[in-house]
């Protein structure tokens, strides 16, 4: 074609037009993606880098006002990791609380999903509406409601227990003790968190073909065997998703702790990583130290997620092998 001079003339602009069209085609997805990627880059990636940079600095009021950096190497990490407060209070609070909440959320959510499956249509509608109402309650207002419910003087629980003669309201304050504080926080978080698990697992249960449990029943499997050997393996991916999401949500709980009486720093016994990071930065103006705590929280979450995903995929590989 190039050997024919008569065709070379009109072919050149046509080729250019084709190239331009190809370039437009290739760039269109990127043009469409550009605004979203720009937002994520500026508001998620850059802050993520920045919190890491801040964690290596002694960044206080002075640096905030002048904007200059003040690198001190690993000093912040040394200070946090060398502090027994982290090991005896903050870390046990964070990990213990999250482990309890995740377990309860997933177990209660799954039980409710199994219950929904056994109900008739009308009762299922009633129950799922009730579940939606628990889910819809914002964390902030939900926390205030639970504080009110457990209010030492006039709350419904202390009033009820007082009526039974079990406690003396004036001498009982559940918010000062670390264990009862976290028991109330657990109730709050599970109440808010289990609806997501219940609805998601219920939707997954609907995808299991009806014939499977029926065949298993004919084979003599009892309810527990059917659940453990049939239902769980079939909807394992969904369990994985809800568990990982619950872990992420429950590790970084902030408002539900911060808003409780004493949770905003007045009672150091009940701090978790999120609230500790906030208090070090915004109440004590040690933004570098606060950033280091935030980085620790992120790394902890990352490690748990990776280990969990690894364990599950390994387990399912072994399960698949004959």
């Amino acid at each position: 074609m190039a050997a024919d001079p008569r065709k070379a003339g009109p072919a050149a602009p046509r080729a250019r037009a084709a190239r331009r069209a190809a370039w437009a085609r290739a760039s269109r997805p990127w043009l469409l993606l550009a605004p979203a990627l720009a937002v994520l880059a500026v508001l998620l990636f850059w802050p993520l880098v920045r919190v890491l940079l801040l964690s290596f600095q002694d960044y206080g009021l002075r640096q905030i006002n002048t904007g200059e950096s003040n690198y001190t190497g690993l000093d912040n990490y040394r200070e946090i990791l060398g502090d027994s407060f982290l090991w005896t209070t903050v870390l046990p609070n964070t990990v213990g609380f999250a482990a309890t909440c995740v377990t309860l959320t997933v177990v209660v959510g799954t039980l409710v999903a199994l219950l929904l499956q056994r109900l008739g249509r009308a009762w299922r509608a009633i129950c799922s509406t009730a579940i939606m109402m628990a889910w819809a309650m914002p964390a902030v207002t939900g926390t205030y409601v639970w504080i009110w419910v457990f209010d030492p003087l006039n709350g419904v629980v202390s009033g009820g227990l007082d009526g039974l003669g079990l406690i003396e309201p004036r001498e009982t304050n559940w918010f000062t003790d670390r264990w009862s504080f976290y028991a109330i926080a657990t109730l709050n978080v599970v109440h808010h968190g289990f609806p997501f698990v219940a609805i998601t697992v219920y939707a997954a249960l609907l995808t299991i073909p009806r014939e499977l449990p029926e065949a298993a029943t004919v084979d003599g499997a009892n309810a527990w065997q059917r659940f453990w050997h049939l239902t769980v393996p079939t909807i394992r991916p969904v369990f994985m998703v809800v568990t990982i999401l619950s872990i992420i949500w429950d590790f970084k709980v902030f408002a539900q702790i911060y808003l409780m009486p004493g949770g905003a720093g007045a009672n150091p016994d009940v701090l978790n990583l999120g609230v500790w990071s906030y208090i070090e930065s915004f109440s004590r103006n040690q933004y570098g130290l606060g950033s280091a705590i935030a980085v620790l929280l992120t790394l902890l979450l990352l490690a748990i997620t990776v280990v969990y995903v690894r364990a599950l995929s390994k387990e399912s590989d072994e399960g698949d092998a004959p």
């Binding site: 994520l40 993520l48 628990a134 902030v140 409601v145 419910v149 219920y202 939707a203 990352l302």
Partner: protein, 275 residues
């Protein structure tokens, strides 16, 4: 399966349903009934409120300025919904309809980004917004919430866009539509249900969020509802009737929203989790 259930099984199910309803509805009931109870502060364990009054509501709306806080929250929520819907739809079309280099990487990145604990970003985002002088503004807050709701919205809408048959698009081209005409007249109406689901999610994220609004908003005329409630509680911590009235005002819109869209929301979530 229900037909084979024995009497004992029926009693067990009835007990489970009762426990479930009590656990899920009790806080909502206690909040609303305390908000209308004239003697809320000394209610104790009285199951029924001692009477009916709107005093608590007029107190939080007049003295607590809850009207303004709710309006601020609604503005931020609507801004987040509109922006995230638009940007997410563009991005979803890109990843669902085009084959291009790095496409998989972009998808994986969007999935991974959802795992970042946003609470860890309070400090850098606070400094960033401070440098941009967007600290005390509803726009700054809207932009931050946009970043929070975007990954989920892109991921969900991707499924809806992919579900639209290519033939429908091609028919539109044959009828003389340009790409933009096809997008606005064909694709947009077909993915509308997905947009509803992501909009609900984005609105709830913005409406419920506390930490960032608490750190960013220093001027009390700019408080969102959640922050306003916190400040109000700081001032009137023993006025439980008023605190519950404020909580009711914040909770009710979300509650009604959730119940109305529950079927679509559950379906969309399940689809997203299984896919």
């Amino acid at each position: 399966m229900t037909r084979r259930t024995s009497t004992a099984g029926r009693i067990g199910i009835a007990a489970a349903v009762t426990a479930l309803l009590a656990f899920t509805l009790f806080p909502v009931y206690w909040m609303i009934s305390s908000a209308f109870d004239p003697e809320a502060d000394h209610r104790g364990s009285e199951v029924l409120p001692s009477g009916f009054t709107l005093d608590h509501f007029s107190h939080v709306l007049d003295d607590g300025e809850f009207g303004r806080y709710l309006a601020n929250s609604a503005l931020v929520g609507l801004g987040t919904v509109l922006l995230s819907g638009l940007l997410a739809l563009f991005a979803a079309v890109a990843v669902a309809r085009f084959r291009f280099r790095l496409r998989t990487q972009v998808l994986v990145m969007i999935l991974v980004v959802q795992m970042v604990p946003l609470e860890a970003l309070v400090i850098p985002l606070f400094l960033q917004m401070r440098d941009l002088e967007l600290l005390n503004s509803l726009i700054g807050l809207t932009i931050v919430y946009l970043a929070f709701s975007l990954p989920f919205a892109v991921w969900t809408l991707r499924g809806f866009v992919a579900a639209v048959p290519r033939e429908v698009e091609e028919a539109a081209y044959l009828d003389g539509c340009g790409w933009w005409g096809m997008f606005s007249r064909i694709l947009l109406p077909l993915v509308a249900p997905g947009l509803v689901a992501t909009s609900v999610f984005a609105f709830i994220v913005a409406w419920n969020e506390f930490v960032f609004a608490f750190v960013f908003m220093q001027d009390d005329s700019k408080y969102t509802a959640a922050v306003g409630l916190h400040r109000f509680f700081g001032q009137y911590s023993t006025d439980w009737g008023a605190v519950m009235a404020g909580s009711t005002l914040i909770t009710l819109p979300v509650l009604i929203f959730f119940v109305l869209v529950q079927r679509r929301l559950a379906g969309g979530l399940a689809a997203g989790a299984i896919r």
